[in-house]
């Protein structure tokens, strides 16, 4: 069994800004543990002649030319914003009162 703990899940949830109930943390601790175990099985069969990869496609160097294409209009860009002030996105205070 993997060593995923409820504390780790709570920490991850905090980093990912996901609000989890204690029931959800318990369930995810089990599920994440199973995933880690499954990955560990794959690692067992990995041999040095299989290079690590970050991508399933055998592709490299996919580039685009440095050519400007039209951007969104300001109205389009701001259309999904919960709040705005003029042409800027408005967000709540970043730091708590000190």
């Amino acid at each position: 069994m993997s060593e995923i703990t409820a504390e780790q899940v709570a920490h991850l949830a905090n980093l990912a800004r996901i609000d989890l109930s204690s029931e959800e943390i318990a369930r995810l601790t089990t599920e994440l543990g199973q995933i880690v175990d499954s990955v560990a099985k794959v690692a067992e069969v990995a041999t040095p002649d299989v290079p690590a990869t970050s991508h399933p496609m055998p592709l490299t160097n996919v580039f685009r030319a440095d050519t400007v294409v039209p951007s969104l209009t300001v109205e389009q860009a701001l259309s999904g914003a919960p709040d705005r002030d003029g042409d800027k996105f408005r967000v709540p205070a970043i730091l708590d009162e000190e």
Partner: protein
């Protein structure tokens, strides 16, 4: 910490050895952003250069800018780095409103360039070799404005506003190894190193390299090691030190602050600190904490960058002469004294002086005009000298002085006309009627009149008191409204005084 509580700099160095490290962010001057085709430009209205990709909207997919890769490789090569055969992007995950995607697309374990070296020369002539750990590619964040509160700073703000025009602009972050042995030169090493990076990116043409616009930004890491110890001290990272002078001041301040704290038995908190240009101090930002667990992982939406060795060698062939070598060569070619040359370099006028000389001007004349009158006019209007007038115009102006068409004084008026958009120097001379009166007939008439009006002066000159001629010369220059060559007038005055005998 108040200035009075800082430890004396010399004493701090007696007790501790400073250890430095720098992270310099260079904003590339590509036409478009790193991963989308939005324009990479400033001065536009807020949020005019955004798209689903740089706003992190669902469905947005990044596409790598080929020019940004090319610029990054050239910069890596100019820093003496090896270029990775295989490099990839990674997501650096954190939540902050200036980063719309909730991650920065950066590089983690496979940066594009690594293991470089840059040798810098201090004012004393001391050479310091800075080892470059890596130079990696990433995208920039948007720009925040904090509203409300007393100071306009983030602390106490009621809310913040975001402009994502800068979000996604390509950056190269250059990270040094630890720099030891800097000793009392440490602050100067910081300034000189950042200046050298700035000079290199400018020479490469990969960045606009204007620190005041944030094109080159420096984070300075400083820690102190007690003399006789081989254990590294806790470091602080002072963020966004955005002028060369500030780099020097911030490093010096941190040495003095940390030394005072440590000497009093305190400990250094590993933290981010903010540099305050106005007061010349740093203040605590957030401490390193859980929030720095960035959960890096390979960017699944981008395939690896694997530059072929042929491409790397092609790019190596495009590298300009290293700026330090170029400076040495130009100083020798121009025959400038150290102070004269430093003046040109420190005023950021090397390129324009070189171009002016290439356009035919004598080296000393080019130097004199750029560091003198042009710099003075630029200062007065708060712009950079090289934005005020073209080197070719300055060369043309100098040519008119050499040809005797203009005196220095008239040439300064012509320069103002050229800067004012009245045309080329020659056109300004014609339109303002500023040429030197070189018609001896007109001068002689004025001289004879002046001599006749001042018979006592005429007598003195005839007695051999040549210095008395000054009064007549002055009167003639006045009559010519300054548009005469004073040396020629003097010659003619003596001649006429003699001839009248």
């Amino acid at each position: 910490m108040k200035k009075a509580e800082l430890m004396d700099y010399d004493k701090a160095l007696e007790l501790f050895e400073p250890v430095l490290g720098f992270e310099v962010h260079v904003e590339l001057n590509t036409k478009t952003k790193m991963f989308c085709g939005c324009a990479n430009e400033f001065g536009q209205g807020a949020n005019t250069n955004t798209c689903p990709t740089c706003l992190g909207l669902p469905g947005g997919l990044p596409q790598v800018n080929a020019k940004a890769i090319e610029s990054s490789i050239r910069l890596g090569l100019a820093l003496g780095c090896e270029i990775a055969e295989y490099s990839r992007f990674a997501r650096k995950n954190y939540f902050y409103p200036d980063t719309a995607k909730n991650f920065q697309t950066s590089q983690y374990d496979e940066p594009i360039a690594f293991n470089g070296q840059l040798t810098i020369e201090l004012e004393s002539g001391r050479l310091v070799t800075v080892d470059i750990e890596r130079a990696h590619m990433e995208d920039d964040a948007g720009k925040l404005t904090h509203v409300g509160g007393a100071t306009g700073r983030i602390q106490g703000a009621d809310y913040s506003l975001v402009d994502y025009n800068r979000g996604g602009v390509p950056l190269v972050e250059i990270v040094t190894q630890m720099i030891e042995g800097g000793e009392a030169d440490s602050p100067e090493i910081g300034r000189t190193y950042v200046a050298a990076i700035r000079e290199i990116v400018k020479a490469l043409g990969v960045s606009n390299a204007r620190m005041e616009e944030g094109n080159v930004r420096c984070d300075a890491n400083v820690s102190l090691r007690p003399r006789g110890s081989n254990v590294l001290g806790t470091r602080t990272e002072t963020k966004n030190v955005n002028s060369l002078r500030s780099v020097e001041r911030a490093v010096r301040y941190e040495i003095q602050r940390q030394a005072a704290l440590l000497h009093a038995g305190g400990t250094i908190t590993q933290e981010t600190r903010h540099w305050h240009e106005d007061t010349g101090i740093t203040s605590a930002g957030r401490p390193k904490s859980d929030a720095d667990d960035y959960r890096y992982f390979p960017e699944p939406d981008l395939v690896p960058v694997a530059p072929s060795r042929e491409w790397v060698e092609e790019l190596r062939a495009t590298l300009p002469e290293p700026p330090a070598a170029r400076r040495k060569r130009l100083q020798a070619e121009w025959g400038f004294a150290n102070l004269e040359f430093q003046d040109v370099v420190n005023s950021d006028l090397l390129d324009v002086v070189e171009a002016t000389i290439a356009a035919g001007a004598a080296a000393q004349a080019a130097r004199k005009w750029w560091t003198g009158e042009v710099a003075r006019l630029a200062n007065a209007s708060g712009v950079s000298a090289d934005s005020l007038v073209q080197p070719a115009q300055v060369a043309a102006l100098i040519e008119l002085v050499v040809a005797g068409t203009l005196t220095d004084r008239l040439a300064r008026q012509v320069l103002e006309g050229v800067i004012g958009g009245e045309g080329t120097p020659l056109e300004v001379v014609e339109s303002r009627g500023l040429a030197v009166v070189s018609d001896d007939g007109a001068l002689i008439a004025a001289i004879d009149e002046a001599l006749a009006a001042q018979p006592d002066v005429l007598a003195k000159i005839r007695d051999g008191k040549v210095q008395a001629a000054g009064a007549v010369i002055g009167a003639v220059m006045k009559a010519m409204r300054g548009q005469a060559d004073a040396a020629r007038v003097r010659e003619l005055v003596l001649e006429r005084a003699g001839a009248a005998e």
